[in-house]
Amino acid sequence: MTLVVDGMRRSHGAFELGPIDLAVDEEVLSVLGPSGCGKTTLLSTIAGTVTPDAGTISLGGLDLTGRPPEKRGTVLVFQDGALFPHMTARENVAYAASSEKRVEELADALEIDAVLDQRADTLSGGERQRVALARSLAADPDALLLDEPLANLDAPIKRRLRDELRPLLASLDVPVIYVTHDQREATAIGDRLAVIADGELLQLDTPDEVFAHPATPFVASFTGSTNLFRGAVVETGTGRALDWNGRRLDAAIGGATVGETVQFCIRPEYVTLAADETRNSVEGAITRRVFEGDGYLLDVVPDGGDEAVRLALSPPAYERAGLDERDRVRLALPADAIHVIGGVEECSAIGPARR
């Protein structure tokens, strides 16, 4: 069964979503985007609680456009679970289930047996989402739509539920759309990843591909590729390369022509400490060191430049290197990790956001 969104548009005041074209097979599609980008509106139009201005939505060949929500077979899971607060957890699941046996099965699968007879409004955040998932599965969805189901959970519970969700969603064998603003969640859960900003679908590909080759500066920035620079394409003896503030960088240039100014990015995890001078290496001083608990970020301003290059190191790697703020280091920017994005445009994501 395939869920197809075709030329869908929906505007609300000044905000405009679309046109969106998507085809989701029996797979999990993560939709990643900042708040207010239109992710929730997209889910609502598919679920039928919001009417699109144009375009069609179909599921397994059946046109859903115009059908009321209860006649679509699409089931929504909401950010805070949207459990019926006046019912117990069991009554919530039974509301959608065909039999008492199915309730028990799902309670087992989602490990909510212990709280089944508690009122929904007394459950903790993690329990609430487990019950909400059980209730959704009880309705035998033909397509499952999840709207930031883990957004309001504490880190350890979020991590655990995320790890459980991946195999659970994959086992459903129906189209699943999973909306989130968290890049780690999106990549961890999705077979494919769509990035949306300002109502526009910017990129749709496998998570690896989106992270390695972001289609726009916004995608690069939003997925954490914080090293985003501008350079000119120049001719070398053996082909084309990048000129970055007078430095020559080898890179796969793609379609850009000689003389063009392009943006290029390199993920901080791919920048490495270099032992000695090689091609694509720069030397400079560490201007900032950030300890994030599970890793270190070092900002290095290359001599004569003003833009810092960010380098991510794991704690053991950092300890081995024995570095400190203001130390001088040499960084290697591997040619195959440099991704040329295309023509120059302003990247709004890293400035103070526009509404």
Binding site: G48, T49, E70, V75
Partner: protein, 271 residues
């Protein structure tokens, strides 16, 4: 800096303190103004005497008329008003504001004016009123007239209170129910109505209390059969203040009961 700040701080405190005291005194005076007359009523009359006069035929007749008419008006208001309240709460139509204005207007309209405008439709001189009267169902000076007056004045309360109650039910819950395959009616019955119930109960209570107390429009439309508020007026004017006490005490107790319902099973809309 500590010094500058401290000087500024003392001034604020002194002024703040005075301001708070004045506020509490003003509020306290207002509360006393509400409470003293109510207490005074019970002090003015010996309970035994009041109790003895509760079985007077004027009291019993007025109470019967009021309870019967207010029950009918409240039922009519609820049946006609709840769907309207739901529509006002949920519709995204551009008409909701205009319709809400129509509902609120009787709330800000003086009841005597309500009586006058009802007379222009249901009075013996108006076509509808004349037709009904000749069919043997007079719409003035009859129980029907009382119900018409009470419904006009009191029914907006159930509409606006239930509307707020419906709005208090998170739409997400209705969307969740629909997305689980349940239709509009199943959703309303299992999700919306149970969650809005305390607010609806408050609306019904307020409408009943307002109907019981209706005076201005009823005086215009149906001086007979006498409801309790009309009877209070008649007793007062014809026989003096003392004779109005029994019904006044009854109505006061009914108001206190309504207040008790608002603060327990129902949801006090002002809380």
């Amino acid at each position: 800096m500590a010094t500058r700040t401290d000087a500024a701080r003392s001034r604020t405190t002194l002024f703040g303190f005075d301001w708070l005291t004045v506020a509490l005194v003003l509020g306290g005076v207002l509360c006393l103004y509400y409470l003293t007359p109510l207490v005074s009523l019970f002090l003015s009359v010996p309970p035994g005497e009041i109790l003895a006069r509760m079985t007077d035929s004027t009291v019993v007749d007025a109470a019967t008329t009021s309870l019967l008419s207010a029950s009918i008006s409240t039922t009519v208001a609820t049946v006609f008003g709840l769907p309207l309240a739901y529509w006002l709460a949920r519709s995204e139509s551009g008409w909701t504001n205009a319709v809400l204005g129509v509902v609120v207007l009787p709330l800000v309209l003086p009841p005597t004016v309500g009586g006058i405008v009802l007379l222009t439709v249901f009075g013996p001189g108006a076509p509808i009123g004349a037709a009904a009267a000749s069919a043997g169902v007079p719409l003035t000076r009859s129980l029907a007239g009382v119900v018409l007056a009470q419904t006009f004045v009191a029914s907006p309360f159930v509409v606006v209170t239930a509307k707020a109650a419906f709005e208090g039910v998170d739409r997400t819950l209705e969307h969740a129910s629909r997305s689980l395959g349940k239709g509009r009616w199943t959703t309303a019955r299992n999700v919306t109505l149970p969650l809005a119930m305390p607010g609806i109960a408050a609306g019904v209570t307020l409408t009943f209390a307002r109907a019981m107390g209706e005076f201005g429009a009823t005086m215009m439309l149906s001086y007979y059969p006498r409801t309790m508020p009309v009877q209070i007026w008649v007793s007062f004017i014809e026989l003096g203040l003392d004779n109005a006490y029994p019904i006044a005490v009854l109505l006061l107790l009914i108001s206190v009961a309504a207040l008790a319902i608002l603060n327990t099973v129902a949801a006090n809309p002002w809380q």
